[in-house]
C-alpha cells in the first residue's frame, strides 16, 4: 500500500469534503499526496489511489495523464518547474532556462547524474510581475525575480541539502 496510516486518515478527511457518493472528487488532492510521498506516480501507486477511492484504475490514469503537475516517470529529487510563457520571457526567462540547462548539463525532463534535479519548463505560474519564476514541489514555493546569481545560490543550497 502506497499510503501510511496517517495518510489514510488524511484521505478519509478529504473524502468527507464532498457529498456522499461523490468521493471521486478527492482524486486530485489524493494524487498530490501520493506524489509528495513518492516523488512521482508509478502505476502501482496509481492503483492504490484507485483502491482507496474505490474507483477504477483507468479513472486515475486518465486524470493523472491530463494534468501537467503529475510526473509519470522518475524525476530528480528537486523538479525545477520554471516558467517559459510570454511575460516571463519579456524579462529574460529564455536565457535563464538555457543557463540552467548548461549549468546542470541536462535537457528538459532528464535527471542529473546525482539524481537531484530535473528541469521542467512549465506554462504561466501567475507570477508575471515578479518573473522570471520557478517553483519546486512538493511545497511549490515560488522563487521569483530570478537571476543567474539567484539560480546559482539556489542550486548550491539544494545540493548542500542533498
Amino acid at each position: 500500500m502506497a499510503f501510511s496510516a496517517e495518510r489514510l486518515e488524511q484521505i478519509k478527511e478529504i473524502k468527507n469534503r464532498y457529498p456522499a457518493g461523490k468521493h471521486k472528487s478527492a482524486l486530485l488532492p489524493v494524487l498530490h499526496l501520493a506524489q509528495a510521498d513518492h516523488g512521482w506516480l508509478p502505476i502501482d501507486v496509481m492503483n492504490d489511489v484507485a483502491e482507496v477511492l474505490d474507483i477504477h484504475p483507468i479513472e486515475v490514469y486518465e486524470v493523472a495523464t491530463f494534468y501537467t503537475m503529475f510526473h509519470l516517470k522518475p524525476v530528480g529529487k528537486y523538479v525545477l518547474e520554471i516558467c517559459r510563457t510570454g511575460p516571463c520571457c519579456l524579462v529574460g526567462a529564455e536565457s535563464l532556462i538555457q543557463y540552467l540547462k548548461n549549468k546542470l548539463n541536462v535537457e528538459e525532463g532528464e535527471v542529473t547524474a546525482d539524481g537531484l534535479f530535473t528541469i521542467k519548463p512549465v506554462e504561466c505560474l501567475a507570477s508575471c510581475g515578479t518573473g522570471p519564476v520557478l517553483q519546486i514541489g512538493p511545497d511549490y514555493i515560488y522563487k521569483e525575480n530570478l537571476t543567474e546569481e539567484k539560480l546559482d545560490q539556489l542550486i548550491e543550497s539544494l545540493r548542500a541539502k542533498g
Binding site: S25, L28, Y67, E81, G86, C89, C124, C128
Partner: protein
C-alpha cells in the same frame, strides 16, 4: 490613486489573520446579510451595484446569480474560480495570499445569497502555498463561528472547502473546472444546460472569479448604489489590474474603472513608464487571450478619443481596432520586443493547454504553433501569414469552449496590426534580434 475597495487594508499589520482582519471591519457583511437581509435582497444589492465578473468575460454578476435555479430540490453550490492561469494575470493570487479573509467573507455572504450550504474554492494546484493560507484562514473562520452550523445563531449552515487543481489552464473555463472538481479530466461541457441549472454534481451552481466574490462584502456593507457610483456607466466599481512586461513598476493595482490607459502606463502611481525611457510598442490589455494593440490604438481609439480602462472603451472599434478588458492582465511591450516571437510563445501555450476535445482547437493550435515556429526560426514562407489567418478563422466559433477563440484572437490581431513584422521575419530572418535565444521544443500532447 482612486478609491480602494479590495486593497484598502492590504498593508495593515496582521491583515492575513482573522483578528487583524476583523479589527479593520472584516466580516461585517456576514453579520449584516445573515441577520438583516434575505438571500434575494443580497442578490438585488449585487444587481444594483452593476458588478461584472472579473474572471474575463465581464458578465453581470447579479444577473448570473438570479439565473440560479433556486426552486430545484437539489443542493445549490457556489464555486470560486481561483484557477488563475491566463498569462499576464496574477491578481487573484495576490488577494488570496495577502488578504485571504476577504475572499472567505465574500464566499460566506455570496453563498447565503445563493442558498448554498456547501461551497468550494478551486485553486490551481501550483499555488499549494496559497491553498495552505486559505485553509488556515478557513479554520479561523470556523473557530469564530462564521462557518459551520447555525452561523451567528441565524440558522444558516455553510461548509467551505479548498480544492486543488492539477496544472491545466483549461480548468479555468467554468465547466472544465466543474469536471475537474468532480475528479475528472478538464474537458469543458456542452452548454446548455448552463451551470445555473445543472453544474456541480448536476446541481444548480454559480461559478465566480476570486475578485468578483471579494467585491461582494463592500457592496453589501455600503450598498449597491454606492458601488455603481464608482467608475463609468456599465463599467462600475474598481478592477484589479496586474501589470507586467516592459514597465518600471510591475505589480497589482486597483483602479477605478475609467482611468486613461496612457495614465495607467506612464503615471508613477501605476506602471511608472517604460524602463530606460524606451518607446512603447504594443499592449495586451486583458490577459494573453485578448487582441494585441499597437501603441497608437491602445492610447487612443480609432476615432482619436483617449482610450480608458473600461470594458466599453477598450473594446471600442471591435476586433478591427479594439481589444478587451478581459482578466486585467496588462502586458506591456517595448520597441525591442519581438511580436512574432511572443506570438509563437503564446500559441505554444494554447497548443499545450488545449484539452484536445475539439478537433479545430486541438489541431489548429498545433498548426499555428508549427507555422509560427518556422517563421520565427527563419524558415517561413510569405504564404504562411495568410495560412495563419485562415487557421485562426477555422478555429474561431467552432469549439465547445472559448479556448479556441482565446488561441485565435492573438494570432489574428498580431497579424492585423504587425503584418510588416511578420513579412520582415520571412524576408530577413537574420534580423530577428532574439534569435540567439533559441529555445524551442514543440508542445506535445
Amino acid at each position: 490613486m482612486g478609491k480602494q475597495i479590495l486593497l484598502e487594508h492590504i498593508n495593515k499589520p496582521g491583515i492575513n489573520t482573522i483578528d487583524g482582519y476583523m479589527k479593520n471591519g472584516g466580516y461585517a457583511s456576514v453579520e449584516k446579510a445573515l441577520k438583516s437581509m434575505s438571500p434575494d435582497q443580497v442578490v438585488e444589492e449585487v444587481k444594483t451595484s452593476g458588478l461584472r465578473g472579473r474572471g474575463g468575460a465581464g458578465f453581470p454578476t447579479g444577473m448570473k446569480w438570479s439565473f440560479l435555479d433556486k426552486k430545484s430540490n437539489k443542493p445549490k453550490y457556489l464555486v470560486c474560480n481561483a484557477d488563475e492561469s491566463e498569462p499576464g494575470t496574477f491578481k487573484d493570487r495576490y488577494l488570496m495570499e495577502r488578504i485571504p479573509h476577504l475572499l472567505i467573507e465574500g464566499m460566506i455572504t455570496s453563498s447565503f445569497a445563493l442558498t448554498a450550504n456547501t461551497s468550494y474554492i478551486y485553486v490551481r494546484g501550483e499555488m499549494m502555498y496559497v491553498i495552505r493560507i486559505l485553509e488556515k484562514a478557513i479554520a479561523e473562520a470556523y473557530a469564530k463561528g462564521f462557518l459551520g452550523k447555525n452561523i451567528l445563531g441565524t440558522g444558516y449552515d455553510l461548509d467551505l472547502y479548498v480544492h486543488p487543481g492539477g496544472g491545466a489552464y483549461i480548468c479555468g473555463e467554468e465547466t472544465a473546472l466543474l469536471e475537474s472538481l468532480e475528479g475528472k479530466r478538464g474537458n469543458p461541457r456542452n452548454k446548455p444546460p448552463f451551470p445555473a441549472v445543472s453544474g456541480l454534481y448536476d446541481s444548480p451552481t454559480v461559478v465566480n472569479n476570486v475578485e468578483t466574490i471579494a467585491a461582494v462584502p463592500w457592496i453589501i456593507n455600503n450598498g449597491g448604489a454606492s458601488y455603481a457610483a464608482i467608475g463609468i456607466g456599465k463599467s462600475s466599481g474598481t478592477k484589479l489590474i496586474s501589470a507586467c512586461g516592459n514597465i518600471n513598476k510591475p505589480g497589482v493595482y486597483e483602479i477605478e474603472l475609467g482611468v486613461p490607459v496612457e495614465e495607467f502606463i506612464y503615471s508613477d502611481q501605476y506602471c511608472g513608464g517604460i524602463p530606460e525611457n524606451r518607446e512603447l510598442k504594443a499592449v495586451v490589455a486583458g490577459g494573453s487571450s485578448v487582441p494585441i494593440l499597437p501603441k497608437e490604438l491602445i492610447l487612443k481609439t480609432a476615432n482619436g478619443e483617449p482610450r480608458l480602462m473600461t470594458y466599453e472603451s477598450l473594446s471600442d472599434g471591435g476586433f478591427v481596432s479594439g481589444t478587451m478588458l478581459g482578466s486585467g492582465g496588462f502586458i506591456v511591450f517595448n520597441d525591442q520586443a519581438c511580436i512574432v516571437r511572443n506570438l509563437w510563445n503564446f500559441t505554444r501555450f494554447y497548443h499545450h493547454e488545449s484539452c484536445g476535445q475539439c478537433s479545430p482547437c486541438r489541431e489548429g493550435t498545433g498548426w499555428m504553433e508549427k507555422v509560427l515556429h518556422r517563421i520565427e526560426h527563419g524558415h517561413g514562407k510569405m504564404t504562411d501569414i495568410d495560412l495563419l489567418v485562415d487557421v485562426a478563422k477555422k478555429i474561431e466559433g467552432k469549439t465547445i469552449c472559448p479556448l479556441g477563440e482565446a488561441a485565435a484572437w492573438p494570432v489574428a490581431s498580431a497579424i492585423r496590426h504587425f503584418r510588416k513584422e511578420f513579412e520582415n521575419h520571412i524576408l530577413h530572418p537574420e534580423s530577428c534580434s532574439a534569435k540567439h535565444l533559441y529555445f524551442g521544443t514543440l508542445a506535445v500532447h
